[in-house]
C-alpha cells in the first residue's frame, strides 16, 4: 500500500471509529420513554412495534366545561368545541332534558358531588393522567379523583349487563391506531358541565392515533339509540407533558369539605399534646 493510500485508510478508519463510539454511546443511553424528544419526529415503539404511549399526558381544551363552541363565563375560558359539526343530534325529548340540565348544572353536575366523571369527560378534564401501557393491558391513571381505566388489549370481551361509572374498555390495534370499544355505562355521568348527557345504553369507539412522539389525536364516536338520532364524533389532541420529572399529583375532590383532626391536635381539650418544639 502507498503512503497516500495508507493515509486515506487511516482517516477513514478514524471516522468509522468515531461513528462507532457515537453509536455505542447512544445505544447505552437509549430509553423506551421519550423525555424532551422535541427534536425527533419518530414515534417511540413498544417491543411489539406499536406506538409507545407511556408517559404523562393532558388535554388542552375547555371541553369539560362545554364540548360545543362557547363564550367565556366567569372563571371559564371561551372555547372552540370538539364536536364534529358542532351539533349534538339529540332526540327531541333529550334536547329538552339537556336544556334543563344546563339550567340546573350547578346542582346537577355529578362532579359537584365528587362523583366520577365517566368517559370521555375524564379524558379532556384539565388534569394530567398517566398512560401505563403493557402488551395485555393499558391502564390510564388519572390525577382527578385518582380514577383509573383498564383498557384490556388481550382480546377479551365486555362483561354483559353491568354498569360502571368509568365503563369497560377493550382495545385492539389497527395499524398505529389504538381502537377502544367502551361499553357498560351507567346513566349518571355527563359529557361536560353544560349538561350534555347519555343513557346507560351508550357505547363509544375511541381512536388514539399518534401525531408524532408527543401528541395523540383522540377521537371518540358516540352511539346511544336512547338519546341521540345518530352516532356523532368528537376529537381533540392529547399533549405529552414534557417538563422534567413531571408526575400526576392529587385532586382529592372529597377532602375539601371534610373535617380532619391535624396530627398535633388532641381529641379532647386537656389531653396531653406533642412536646414543645
Amino acid at each position: 500500500m502507498s503512503k497516500l493510500e495508507r493515509g486515506k485508510l487511516h482517516r477513514t478508519s478514524h471516522k468509522v471509529l468515531i461513528l462507532l463510539i457515537a453509536t455505542l454511546l447512544s445505544a447505552c443511553g437509549a430509553s423506551t420513554e421519550p423525555t424532551n424528544n422535541t427534536a425527533s419526529d419518530t414515534v417511540p415503539r413498544t417491543p411489539e412495534g406499536h406506538p409507545d404511549f407511556n408517559g404523562v399526558w393532558q388535554a388542552l381544551t375547555t371541553a369539560s366545561w362545554n364540548i360545543q363552541d362557547h363564550n367565556a363565563q366567569k372563571g371559564v375560558p371561551a372555547g372552540q368545541g370538539i364536536v364534529d359539526g358542532n351539533e349534538i343530534p339529540y332526540q327531541e325529548w333529550a334536547a329538552a332534558q339537556q336544556q334543563e340540565n344546563y339550567q340546573n348544572r350547578a346542582d346537577l353536575d355529578p362532579l359537584h358531588k365528587c362523583y366520577l366523571p365517566g368517559v370521555p369527560r375524564i379524558m379532556y378534564m384539565p388534569y394530567p393522567f398517566r398512560i401505563n401501557q403493557t402488551s395485555e393491558l393499558t391502564a390510564i391513571t388519572f390525577e382527578y379523583s385518582h380514577a383509573f381505566r383498564w383498557i384490556w388489549t388481550n382480546g377479551t370481551e365486555h362483561p354483559e349487563a353491568l354498569e360502571f361509572w368509568m365503563a369497560d374498555s377493550r382495545g385492539h390495534w389497527e395499524g398505529d391506531t389504538l381502537v377502544v370499544s367502551v361499553a357498560d355505562f351507567n346513566n349518571q355521568t355527563w359529557f361536560d358541565r353544560a349538561g350534555n348527557f347519555h343513557s346507560e345504553e351508550m357505547t363509544l369507539v375511541e381512536r388514539y392515533s399518534p401525531m408524532g412522539p408527543n401528541h395523540i389525536n383522540y377521537e371518540v364516536t358516540v352511539e346511544d339509540p336512547k338519546v341521540f338520532t345518530r352516532p356523532w364524533t368528537m376529537s381533540t389532541v392529547l399533549y405529552r407533558r414534557l417538563e422534567e420529572n413531571v408526575q400526576t399529583l392529587d385532586y382529592e375532590c372529597l377532602e375539601f369539605e371534610e373535617p380532619f383532626l391535624p396530627w398535633d391536635e388532641v381529641p379532647v381539650p386537656g389531653m396531653p399534646g406533642p412536646p414543645e418544639q
Partner: protein, 317 residues
C-alpha cells in the same frame, strides 16, 4: 489496522445487541433469588415480572395487645355497637383467620410488628393516649373517622391490608411498577429511576414513591404523605387499631419480596419522630395470586357510600 477495525465493529454490534435486549446487563443488576430453584421471568427492562392480579385473604393480629386492653376495647365496642358487635370483636377475627388460612398457604409467625421485639408500636406517650381515645370513641366526631370509610384514600401502608372482597393489580410498564387497588380505585405509580421526590410542600394521599429492585426484592421509599390517614387498619376484628394517626413527616420504606411464583411478602419500616419514639417495622405476606379467571371490578366508593349519613344522620351527600 483493517482487521482491528473489523473486530471492533463486530464486538460493538454484539454489545449493542445484548444491551438493547437486556438492560440488566448494562445496569449490572444483581439477580440472586431467595429460592435457589426458581427465578421469575424478566421483562424487557430487566424487572422481575410480577404482573397480575393479587388478593390478600388472610387476617392476623398486628400487635400483642394485653388481655386487659382487649377487654377494655371489647367493652367500648359493646357500648357503641350493642351486644352484637359484629365485625369488630375478636371472635369474628378468630373464625375468619381459621377459615381463610386453609385456602392459601401462610408462613408461620410471619405477621405483625417485627421491630421493636415487644411487638408493640412504639408510640410516644401523648400519641398513645390520643390513639387510644380515638379507638375507644370512633363515632364521636366525623374527623375521628377512618379515611378509608369516608371513601378518602387509605394511605400507605394501610392500603395493603387484608380485604376479603378487594384485590390489586400490578403492571410494569418500562421503568415503573404500577399498583392498581380495586378498593376505591386507588393507585400508586412507582418510578424505578433516580428522580427526586416531590418538594416537601406537596402531599399525596398515597405518598410519593420511588423504587428500585434489589434482586427479587422491590424496595420503595415513600414520602410526602398527608397526616389524614392511619398507618394500620381496622378491618375485621382489628378495630383496636383505629386511630393510628401520624404526621406529614412520616417516612415509609417498603420491601416487597418475591417468595415464589404466587406469593409476595412485605416488610415495611415506618419512621415518624413526631409520634413514635423510634422507627418500627411490620412483616406479613401481602399478596397471593388471585385464582384464574378472578376479575377485578370498578369500586365506585363515594358514589354509593351511605356510611356517614347512617352514622351521623346527616345528608350532606
Amino acid at each position: 489496522m483493517k482487521h482491528i477495525l473489523f473486530a471492533l465493529i463486530a464486538l460493538s454490534i454484539l454489545f449493542i445487541g445484548i444491551a438493547g435486549n437486556n438492560p440488566a446487563f448494562v445496569l449490572g443488576q444483581d439477580s440472586s433469588a431467595t429460592d435457589e430453584s426458581w427465578e421469575p421471568n424478566r421483562l424487557a427492562d430487566g424487572q422481575p415480572d410480577i404482573q397480575g392480579i393479587y388478593i390478600n385473604p388472610w387476617v392476623f393480629t398486628i400487635e400483642n395487645y394485653t388481655d386487659q386492653e382487649r377487654e377494655e376495647f371489647q367493652q367500648a365496642m359493646i357500648e357503641h355497637r350493642g351486644p352484637e358487635t359484629g365485625a369488630y370483636d375478636f371472635d369474628w377475627l378468630e373464625q375468619s383467620t381459621t377459615e381463610r388460612r386453609a385456602d392459601y398457604p401462610y408462613p408461620d409467625n410471619f405477621y405483625g410488628v417485627s421491630k421493636p421485639p415487644s411487638g408493640r408500636i412504639p408510640w410516644q406517650d401523648w400519641a398513645f393516649q390520643k390513639k387510644k381515645y380515638l379507638s375507644h370513641h370512633p363515632y364521636e366526631k366525623r374527623e375521628f373517622f377512618d379515611s378509608r370509610i369516608r371513601c378518602l384514600p387509605a394511605g400507605t401502608p394501610r392500603g395493603f391490608f387484608w380485604s376479603f372482597y378487594n384485590g390489586w393489580q400490578i403492571l410494569q410498564p418500562p421503568g415503573h411498577v404500577v399498583i392498581l387497588y380495586e378498593h376505591n380505585h386507588l393507585y400508586r405509580v412507582i418510578p424505578l429511576d433516580d428522580s427526586p421526590h416531590l418538594g416537601k410542600d406537596i402531599n399525596l394521599w398515597m405518598g410519593d414513591s420511588r423504587g428500585r429492585w434489589e434482586g427479587n426484592t422491590l424496595v420503595v421509599d415513600v414520602t410526602n404523605l398527608t397526616d389524614k390517614t392511619w398507618v394500620i387498619g381496622e378491618l375485621g376484628g382489628e378495630g383496636i387499631h383505629i386511630g393510628s394517626f401520624h404526621s406529614e413527616d412520616i417516612h415509609v420504606v417498603e420491601r416487597f419480596t418475591i417468595v415464589d411464583k404466587d406469593n409476595i411478602d412485605y416488610e415495611v419500616t415506618i419512621e415518624d419522630p413526631n409520634v413514635f419514639t423510634e422507627p418500627w417495622s411490620m412483616k406479613y405476606r401481602v399478596f397471593t395470586r388471585a385464582p384464574k379467571d378472578y376479575v377485578l371490578f370498578e369500586y365506585a366508593c363515594h358514589e354509593g357510600n351511605r356510611t356517614m349519613e347512617l352514622t351521623f344522620g346527616d345528608t350532606r351527600d
